[in-house]
């Protein structure tokens, strides 16, 4: 209520004390290629009146009539100044050129967008641009967005070869991953070895680990906002690369007489070509490919249209025995419209789909599962006055989930046709947020999101005796499936169950001095979709399921406080944050759960809760020949799953247990050194506490085999994970006048060939009959070479 009063007060003061005010607005772009710049600053000299460009490069400034010097700046680009006499509303667009010095002497690798903004209440955010990501050493030379963010504090993954990433002790499905606003349900190729984002098509990424702006919702851990490049508006341009695993080619060009531009980027792996050459593998096929598209057209200065699309797929075909394919498809049509000089709007129509298919020839089975959604979104930004900006909007997402369809591939197949019930749901939301400079030192960000979720009919729902889908068997002390009572059919128009969530988002920033500040945030978030996975690694065939009668939405509350300091002279920046997060209704699986082909998932799960807390330190050096960062995280992530309605003590005796994402210590160091204009070097070092796992604590003989008995859930840990990678970039640059510019990237992954355990499995040796522990390690030392070019 207080916040509303504040806003009202400012609205009021604005109208009463208004002197004659005018607005300047416009777009800030990169002079070399016309790409809009997000996070560039427009500032009136001698005042504290400034505006930062939004994701479409738009800024709007309002000030009292007068003469001013307008300063436009963006780190790594030359600052422009312009004398303006503000006596009417006006539109001024700027094109900034990259700093000339960048070419030979000091290369500034970190953009302004990666520096800490001391004043803004925004915290727990990490920004990386494509240039920084490309510089980091990568396995087999495959530059990888998802791997690069794991070098940041609070971000880990479940080991090489597992999909996704984990933020502040959260699960992979708790991350909202957006590619040009479209939801990406699976971020990995090759089961997690590589990510779906082609770095040549990516402009920048932003990861919100907490303090999530109110315009985002639907996931409880984080938001990874990935934005594609718009395409060069000045010249036709080709970029590409040839690597060991894949090759890339991107074409960009202006279209419609410079009123628009497009980008088309393709990437494909070619391991299968090598397989063909080997007799044993000639029938095998393992490949992935991506296609990124983007086009934009400026109708006039107030209207702009964007079209973006992504299509990616993995294909495996092993000796014609197993065929396996999966991939994401997404598309987004956007319309930017400027209503007035101070009201900016964007309407998005988004579609995305993820599907998974496996064909097993030897039993003549074909399995398909998918999730698709349509999303309509309208976002507005109102530059109310020099102290207050308002963001608000609405969105609606309609989901259709096909959790599985099994069909025989021939008439002789022993398989019966089976279709799990399609699931339908609708998620609507409205949000508002305001950034408000309360005093010179104190800035606040108030946000409020209201979300509503409806699980829709078109399927039958099973009811259970005593309304218990899972029952605790007191005698054997195990959880068992409940007894089905009846099936109730809901027609498509009916709502089976609805939920809603009121999600306040509050951020505060207090400036201690010009170089340091304290920030605090409070975030509530609701997640209505859940990824079902009872395996240690997230796999492509894990299915998503919506909340409903038996599965409640996950609700998280996160508190964070931080200290931020820029040592601007030397280009150092320090970020220190602590957080505490709780999540209600985090599901976990009863012992012996069976999720594959199960139409009644509720009989396999219990509703639990999770909590995570930790401290993160990030020390960055952003200027000079030597750049990089040191990240350290000390954290804990636990879960408790009580029996609840099912009775009994719950999973693991009702005690708290480590989640698989718990890492006590996590250290990441990344460093880059620019030797001269031909050579640059970089390296990564990672050290992590081992992943929590469950080891045997005894054995007994049964059916002539040694059977392991297991200790409490996730009581043990894999050995520590650590690794060093290095890379060198060589730019021959012999003929700087030529259009074709090439560079060689040499890399070594896991330099000291540490055999990090992806898993340790326990079993009986078929040779000796004795029990033994077998370590599976994925990547040993791997050298790589990649050639990148630009034309």
């Amino acid at each position: 209520m207080k916040h509303l009063l504040c806003i009202a007060y400012f609205l009021f003061s604005f109208s009463v004390f208004a002197q004659e005010k005018f607005t300047i607005r416009g777009t800030i772009t990169d002079a070399s290629n016309g790409e809009t710049l997000m996070g560039a600053t427009a500032f009136l000299q001698g005042t504290d009146n400034g505006s930062v460009t939004n994701e479409y490069g738009f800024y709007s400034l309002t000030a009292i009539k007068g003469n001013y010097t307008l300063i436009i700046s963006y780190m790594g680009y030359e600052t422009q100044t312009k004398q303006i006499s503000l006596d009417k509303d006006q539109t001024i667009n700027f094109e900034l050129s990259e700093s000339a010095t960048a070419l030979d002497e000091v290369v500034i690798t970190a953009e302004e967008s990666e520096q800490i903004n001391i004043k803004k209440p925004e915290m727990s955010v990490a920004k990386l641009n494509a240039a920084t990501i490309k510089q980091m050493p990568a396995v087999l030379g495959e530059v990888d967005v998802v791997k690069s963010i794991q070098m940041l504090p609070g971000v880990t993954n479940n080991g090489e070869g597992s999909s996704g990433f984990n933020v502040r002790g959260g699960a992979a499905d708790q991350n909202l991953v957006l590619l040009d606003e479209a939801i990406i349900y699976n971020t990995s190729h090759f089961f997690g070895f590589f990510s779906v984002f082609n770095s040549d098509a990516i402009k920048d990424i932003k990861l919100y680990k907490g303090d999530i702006p109110s315009k985002f919702g639907g996931r409880v851990s984080s938001v990874l906002d990935v934005r594609q490049k718009e395409g060069n508006r000045k010249n036709f341009n080709l970029t590409g690369g040839i690597g060991l695993i894949s090759s890339r080619l991107t074409a960009e060009s202006p279209i419609f007489k410079d009123k628009g531009s497009f980008l088309i980027a393709g990437r494909t792996s070619y391991a299968h070509l090598f397989l063909k050459a080997v007799e044993d593998f000639k029938d095998d096929k393992i490949s992935f490919y991506d296609l990124n598209l983007k086009a934009n057209y400026e109708i006039n200065s107030n209207n702009k249209i964007y079209l973006s699309g992504y299509f990616g797929r993995d294909v495996f075909n092993l000796n014609k025995i197993i065929e396996n394919g999966y991939g994401n498809v997404s598309g987004n049509l956007r319309w930017n419209h400027v209503f007035t000089d101070r009201l900016f709007s964007n309407l998005s129509m988004i579609y995305s789909k993820y599907d998974y298919q496996i064909v097993l020839d030897f039993i003549e089975l074909d399995w398909i599962a998918d999730i698709a959604n349509y999303n309509l979104k309208y976002d507005l930004k109102y530059y109310l006055n020099d102290k207050l900006d308002l963001d608000f909007g609405v969105s609606g997402i309609s989901y259709l989930l096909n959790p599985g369809e099994v069909s025989p591939t021939s008439s002789e197949s022993p398989i019966n046709y089976l279709k799990l019930d399609d699931k339908r749901a609708f998620e609507g939301a409205a949000y508002i947020s305001a950034e408000h400079q309360i005093s010179k030192k104190l800035t606040a960000q108030y946000g409020l999101r209201f979300s509503q979720f409806m699980r829709l009919g078109g399927q039958a729902m099973t009811t259970y005796v005593n309304d218990q889908p899972v029952i605790f068997n007191d005698e054997l002390e195990i959880y068992e499936r409940g007894e089905a009572l009846d099936e109730i059919y809901y027609s498509k128009g009916e709502t089976i169950k609805d939920y809603n969530g009121l999600e306040p988002r509050l951020g505060l920033s207090y400036e201690l001095n010009s170089a340091s500040s304290l920030k605090a945030s409070f975030t509530k978030s609701t997640q209505y979709l859940h990824l079902l996975s009872n395996t240690a690694s997230v796999t492509p065939l894990d299915v998503w399921t919506p909340s409903g009668q038996y599965i409640k939405p996950q609700r998280s509350t996160q508190y964070a406080v931080g200290y931020y300091r820029n040592f601007s002279e030397k280009g150092y920046a320090l970020e220190l944050e602590t957080y505490y997060k709780t999540i209600k209704n985090r599901i976990d699986y009863i012992d012996g759960s069976d999720l594959i082909g199960n139409n009644n998932i509720e009989t396999e799960i219990l509703n639990g809760e999770a909590r995570a807390y930790g401290m993160e330190v990030l020390l960055r050096k952003t200027k000079g020949k030597f750049t990089g960062w040191l990240a350290y995280t000390l954290s804990k992530s636990e879960q408790r799953t009580l029996g609840g309605k099912a009775g009994g003590p719950g999973i693991n005796g009702g005690n708290w247990y480590n989640t698989p994402y718990d890492r006590t210590h996590d250290v990441s160091v990344t460093a880059a050194y620019q030797l001269n204009d031909k050579w640059s070097f970089s390296s990564n070092f990672v050290f992590q506490t081992g992943r929590p796992v469950t080891y045997p604590n005894g054995q007994y003989e049964y059916e002539g085999l040694s059977i392991a008995s297991y200790s409490n859930r996730n009581r043990d840990r894999l050995p520590q994970y650590h690794r060093l990678d290095i890379s060198a970039v060589y730019k021959p640059n012999k003929h700087p006048e030529r259009r074709l510019k090439g560079e060689w990237v040499f890399g070594i992954y896991n330099v000291y060939n540490r055999r990090n355990a992806a898993s340790i499995s326990f079993g009986q040796s078929k040779v000796s009959g004795l029990n033994e522990a077998t370590r599976l390690s994925i990547f040993g030392i791997i050298p790589s070479v990649t050639y990148n070019f630009k034309f």
Binding site: I321, T694, E703, S777
Partner: protein
């Protein structure tokens, strides 16, 4: 063939530059528990009067020396439909035997074990099994088109849920191969299961060759035993690989009446089974 997609994922996974090695790992050791391996299996067409129950104690995971057989217990099975009791005689080597057992299809049986003044009880129903209709060999089927495999066929009865347990064994092998199956995807169809061995030097395993003799037993089992043995088999063969589900404590159907916390391992099963033997040509 059980649709274990995770095994397939693991195979795909293995194509990448992964490598496996045996390492030393320290594990904890829990207090030993009584293990009841009471498998009263009645081969179709026989009397089924000879039965054996094994009692032992669990040992540390890497322990290879302990003699874990348990003697001095009293073991009794009762047919709860007829009230008939069968006493099992202590052989003083961890085994308890009887030659008077009378199997009756679909009757319920109760097991009572008294050991160290603690009473363990379990109950189970004798499940019938369908016949194996055919056993053949082939090369084109299975995972590999060039290796021999054994094919087993039987007809799943429609109109009821059926659960199966398979035990495959090749003469000379150290261990049998266990498998489980529910008719969830195959109800009422002719079911085909196959066993194909790969050449694997690390595991001392060789593909089938003409002259190799294999044996297959097919058991009709209860849903509860299926749930138990499915997990046991999954855990035994995956043992913590990346696509295995959370390792969990297996709980059988025997309950310690005196001290429920000191629950036993193992299971009391009563089944009918059919057996076939085959020599590759």
């Amino acid at each position: 063939m059980k649709i274990n997609i995770y095994v397939i994922l693991l195979a795909i996974f293995g194509i990448f530059m992964s490598c496996e090695d045996v390492i030393d790992v320290e594990v904890t050791t829990a207090t030993p528990r009584l293990v009841i391996e009471a498998s009263l299996d009645w081969e179709k067409g026989t009397l089924g009067n000879e039965q054996l129950i094994k009692l032992s104690m669990s040992t540390p995971y890497f322990d290879v020396t302990s003699d874990s057989g348990v003697s001095g217990a009293s073991v009794k099975v009762t047919n709860t439909n007829s009230g008939e009791e069968f006493l099992f005689e202590d052989q003083n080597d961890g085994t308890y035997t009887t030659s008077n057992f009378v199997p009756v299809l679909n009757d319920s049986y109760t097991l009572e074990v008294v050991y160290n003044n603690q009473t363990y009880l379990g109950s189970e129903t004798l499940m019938p099994v369908t016949d194996i209709t055919n056993v053949t060999q082939s090369v084109e089927g299975g995972f590999d088109d060039e290796l021999l495999e054994l094919n087993v066929y039987f007809n799943d009865p429609a109109d009821e849920e059926n659960y199966y347990f398979f035990r495959y064994y090749e003469e000379g092998d150290l261990f049998p191969l266990l498998a489980d199956l529910s008719d969830e995807f195959f109800n009422g169809n002719e079911v085909h299961d196959f066993w194909e061995k790969q050449d694997d030097e690390d595991n001392n395993e060789e593909a089938f060759e003409p002259g190799d003799t294999v044996e297959v037993s097919l058991y009709g089992i209860s849903e509860r035993y299926y749930n138990y043995v499915r997990l046991l088999i999954e855990q035994y063969y995956s043992g913590g690989d990346p696509f295995s589900s959370n390792a969990a404590q297996l709980r059988g159907n025997c309950v310690n009446q005196t001290n429920p916390n000191n629950y036993p391992f193992g299971y009391f099963r009563v089944t009918e089974f059919v057996k076939a033997s085959y020599t590759f040509e």
